[in-house]
């Protein structure tokens, strides 16, 4: 696709000369680099609650962000008005970061190489509203039908289509059209007058409505949410203290996101504030562990054809056989660290400065039979599903919260336990990985990662993994 056929050129009558003139304006007081990020985001969501379709919302936001980099400094401004005078004004504000004679931009853009990870025939908004309503109604019915003890169900279907265009002062131009869809189901279960218990499931990715009609129907997520709520009805108090923990495959990969992923983002390492700073080449995990961040997996929630700085995403090896291999780089940090961007520059929207972020982070499969892993544990905890997590990248301490887990007694899963946090230390935790299963699974597509106030969609994955020592935060001391 050439520039003149691009969404922004067509919709806002932009020509390449305009982009060059905005970039020149941005570098009018000097600076090493400037870029423009145009974004047009259309969203829609529909929600059912108490069997009533209570909400339906649609909307559009658009704008452009202008960034100037001068050494370690960044100037940033944005406008939600794409008229030439407003974009120029934003460029002049961003330019204030530099103090010197104007820098010259490369004229003539070259269209950046990019992947085609989420081909899409129809725009989500061209598909019928009636089908969306049907999805949430089906989810509601399936969750209620799962068990008579389910008494409340909420389901939300949300999708969006984002058009982006990035133009840089070194002559790179890229466009992308990024779909995203997600179905979430929450269920509450209660036995008689007992305490209600909560279950949640959801999924999606860079897909459209079709995915939920043909690949993962709403019933799949609804039954899972209902099942989790029902399991909790019989849960016993979670154990407290250090013990062997087995993580089930899939979403428990959030461990990797928190334990190592954030600590390997280049900005923290450039500043020397990460527990992983200066440790490339060192053993930071058991030799059984190879951890990848891969933005190039088709239709995954964390995938991107190009990152938010116009660089194609790639498959980055973070830890190979336990040895720390590399950081996740964006434009700014890679310039300052004399490295290359790893296609990891991401931002929440045109109002935000990009920074190094994860895409889809997972551990490669090992050789152990998942059942054998559980059988090898005399006493411990098996975690099947998690809620969120958080990390302090400086001390390396991270937590993640198990929402569905079971006691392991004499090699067998026994009682389900109540929700509990698990806590570990990034550079230490993975050294205790003693078995890695052959059953790598990626999550269903629900992850949202927050960093410095910016949220971006991400994916995680992990095979069944045995960790010999980890602190479990229950109440049964």
């Amino acid at each position: 696709m050439g520039f003149t056929q691009s969404f922004f050129a067509q919709k806002f009558n932009l020509v390449e000369r305009d982009l060059e003139s905005y970039l020149s304006e941005a570098l009018s007081a000097g600076g090493d680099y400037a870029d423009l990020y145009f974004e047009y985001l259309a969203t829609s969501s529909i929600g059912i609650d108490e069997q009533i379709v209570k909400s339906a919302t649609e909307g559009v936001t658009l704008g452009v962000g202008v960034r100037v980099i001068a050494g370690e400094r960044t100037g940033y401004a944005y406008s939600d008005d794409l008229s030439p005078e407003k974009i120029r004004k934003a460029a002049r504000v961003a330019a204030l970061i530099a103090r010197g004679p104007a820098s010259v931009i490369k004229t003539g853009f070259e269209e950046a190489r990019k992947h085609d990870l989420y081909p899409m025939l129809a725009s989500p908004h061209e598909m019928g509203l009636a089908e969306r309503v049907d999805l949430v109604k089906r989810a509601d019915l399936a969750a209620r039908a799962y068990d008579r003890r389910i008494f409340q169900v909420q389901a939300t279907y949300a999708d969006s289509l984002r058009h982006v265009m990035v133009a840089t002062s070194d002559g790179r131009l890229s466009f992308d059209r990024q779909p995203m869809a997600r179905l979430s189901v929450m269920a509450l279960a209660r036995e008689g007058d007992g305490v209600p218990q909560h279950g949640y499931s959801g999924g999606g990715g860079r897909v459209t409505l079709d995915f939920f009609l043909h690949e993962k129907p709403p019933e799949h997520f609804a039954r899972e949410a209902a099942r989790q709520a029902i399991v909790q009805l019989d849960a016993v108090d979670a154990p407290a203290g250090e013990m062997t923990v087995v993580l089930g495959p899939g979403w428990p990969g959030i461990l990797l996101h928190e334990a190592v992923g954030h600590g390997l983002e280049a900005d923290f390492n450039r500043k020397g504030v990460s527990a992983f700073s200066g440790r490339i080449g060192q053993q930071v995990a058991s030799p059984l562990c190879t951890v990848i961040d891969d933005g190039t997996i088709g239709n995954r929630r964390g995938s991107l054809n190009v990152d938010d700085e116009g660089v194609p995403t790639q498959r980055n090896v973070l830890i190979e056989n336990g040895v720390l291999r590399g950081y996740l780089q964006d434009q700014l940090s890679s310039r300052l660290m004399h490295a290359h961007s790893t296609g990891s520059g991401r931002r929440e929207s045109y109002q935000h400065i990009p920074m190094p972020r994860m895409t889809n982070t997972y551990m490669l499969a090992g050789e152990s039979d998942p059942e054998e892993i559980v059988r090898s544990v005399p006493k411990g905890l098996y975690c099947a599903t998690f809620g969120g997590g958080q990390v302090d990248i400086t001390s390396g301490n991270f937590v993640f919260s198990a929402t569905e887990s079971y006691l392991i007694e004499n090699g067998r899963l026994t009682s389900p336990v109540r929700g509990a946090s698990l806590i570990g230390n990034g550079p230490e935790a993975l050294k205790y990985v003693s078995m890695v299963g052959s059953d790598l699974k990626l999550d269903e597509g629900i992850g949202v990662c927050g960093k410095e106030g910016q949220s971006v969609p991400v994916g995680v994955g992990i095979p069944t993994v045995k960790i010999d020592r980890m602190t479990v935060g229950g109440t049964a001391a």
Partner: protein
């Protein structure tokens, strides 16, 4: 009427013309500025403004919502038509509707939400404050050689609301904040902490010296932490940690959770749910604070509500919808972005201060934990289960003895509220949720 008030009223009018039986429009605009400094150099400057409009319409008992950042005539028309179309696919909801006319209104006294001094502040002065805060932290102790930087940010906003029952109102807000994140290092231990001051008026911001010093002290006292054995002990939450716990209580008194029975406090109105020392208030009309506003996001007059009085649950916090579901009246706590059905949000939601200083509370503990940081919030407000990563200081014989980290604290909120044994005198409003130091008689600390 201002231009934006007129625009909001026009949106409502246009929705009625297109067949809506009811409509509400929110318009928000803001200008943000932030400057960050790291290792004594300016790291970034950001400055910009944006605005957006949203509409929610009712067609009988069906609702539809939409929003746009394009406030041109064409953008607004597209937005209104989208909401009208969406209301055709939602269900009849017998409880949907706008607030009753007599509930609509606005506080006319000056609530101190806007300070001209913030708008007039020079960029150089803002950068200088961030620079000074970081300098103080870096110079505080030789063990502080690095920093994640310091930032000064400011925001000027305007919020406008109109509905088809004749309400039109707007208010301006301002805020500024100063923060610094020093990194302390000693014997292979590296720890960071932060201090953040925020205020609606420039003069109420803590000085760069204060912000820098407190951040440095906090980072230093975390160095070389230990991991303690698993045990049940009294736990003191310092105000920053207590605030997060109070946020969990907010989720449990939130009317939207209560009507779904998704709160451990559903059906407990009038019952004793906490220690007698425990009184919680939601007050949206305290001047100059972050939870203050003249009206809520449905145009209902802002007010003060006693939520828990000496341990007894007195009121939930409600918007119009959750109030109708529960057969009650709205408490003026409607909250939303610029579109959609309103949710429930806090005004200034706080624990009333007690009489003892934090030092006195610590002095009363022989063996226990003083929590300074919670990570990975895990409160389940459906059943009350609470389990959270923590860092802080271990208390031995009434004194803060040594730092601890890599631990969790766990209990159940129902029991934790009953077990509140002390409340500090150090109530401090740093956001819309505010708490003094609190002591909970017993929790499980999980470590080695």
């Amino acid at each position: 009427m201002t231009d934006l008030e007129q625009l909001a009223a026009d949106v409502v009018k246009r929705a009625r013309e297109l067949g809506a039986t009811g409509a509400e429009c929110t318009i928000s605009e803001g200008e943000e500025f932030s400057a960050s400094v790291r290792m004594r150099q300016v790291e970034s400057l950001k400055e910009a403004g944006s605005r957006g409009a949203g509409v929610r319409i009712l067609a009988g008992q069906r609702a539809g919502s939409s929003y746009t950042s394009d406030l041109s005539r064409e953008g607004i028309e597209t937005m209104v038509r989208a909401a009208i179309e969406l209301a055709k696919i939602t269900s009849e909801d017998p409880h949907a509707g706008l607030p009753e006319p007599e509930e609509l209104g606005s506080i006319h006294a000056d609530l101190g939400l806007y300070d001209d001094a913030i708008a007039g502040m020079e960029t150089e002065r803002k950068i200088a404050q961030a620079r000074q805060a970081e300098e103080v932290a870096l110079a505080f102790d030789p063990r502080i050689q690095n920093s994640e930087g310091a930032a000064f940010n400011s925001h000027l906003g305007r919020r406008v609301f109109a509905n088809s029952r004749g309400f039109v109102g707007s208010y301006r807000t301002s805020s500024c904040g100063l923060s610094v994140v020093p990194v302390a290092k000693q014997n292979g231990s590296m720890e960071r902490d932060y201090w953040h001051s925020a205020a609606r008026a420039a003069a109420r911001l803590e000085s760069p010296e204060e912000v820098g010093r407190r951040a440095a002290e906090r980072a230093l006292r975390r160095l070389n932490p230990r991991k303690v054995p698993t045990q049940k002990v009294p736990v003191i939450f310092e105000p920053r940690a207590a605030r997060s716990l109070l946020g969990d209580l907010f989720d449990a008194v939130n009317g939207s959770a209560v009507y779904r029975h998704a709160s451990f406090l559903a059906g407990k109105l009038g019952e004793k749910i906490a220690s007698e020392k425990f009184t919680v208030i939601d007050d949206a009309i305290l001047p100059g604070l972050f939870g203050t506003s003249p009206f809520d996001d449905e145009g209902v007059t802002a007010r003060r509500t006693i939520v828990v009085e000496r341990g007894v649950l007195k009121s939930y916090l409600l918007n119009t919808y959750s109030a109708r579901k529960l057969g009650m009246k709205t408490t003026g706590n409607a909250s939303r972005g610029i579109t959609g059905n309103a949710g429930v949000g806090p005004g200034n939601f706080f624990i009333e201060a007690g009489e003892r200083t934090p030092e006195q509370i610590v002095a009363g503990i022989r063996n226990g934990l003083y929590v300074t940081e919670l990570i990975g919030q895990t409160a389940n407000t459906v059943n009350g289960d609470y389990s959270c990563g923590a860092a802080g200081l271990w208390i031995e014989n009434g004194e803060l003895a040594y730092p601890v980290s890599g631990i969790t604290i766990a209990g159940n909120l129902k029991q934790m509220l009953i077990n509140v044994e002390q409340i500090g005198s150090d109530l401090d409003f740093r956001g819309s949720i505010a708490a003094p130091t609190i002591l909970i008689g017993e929790m499980t600390v999980s470590g080695q």
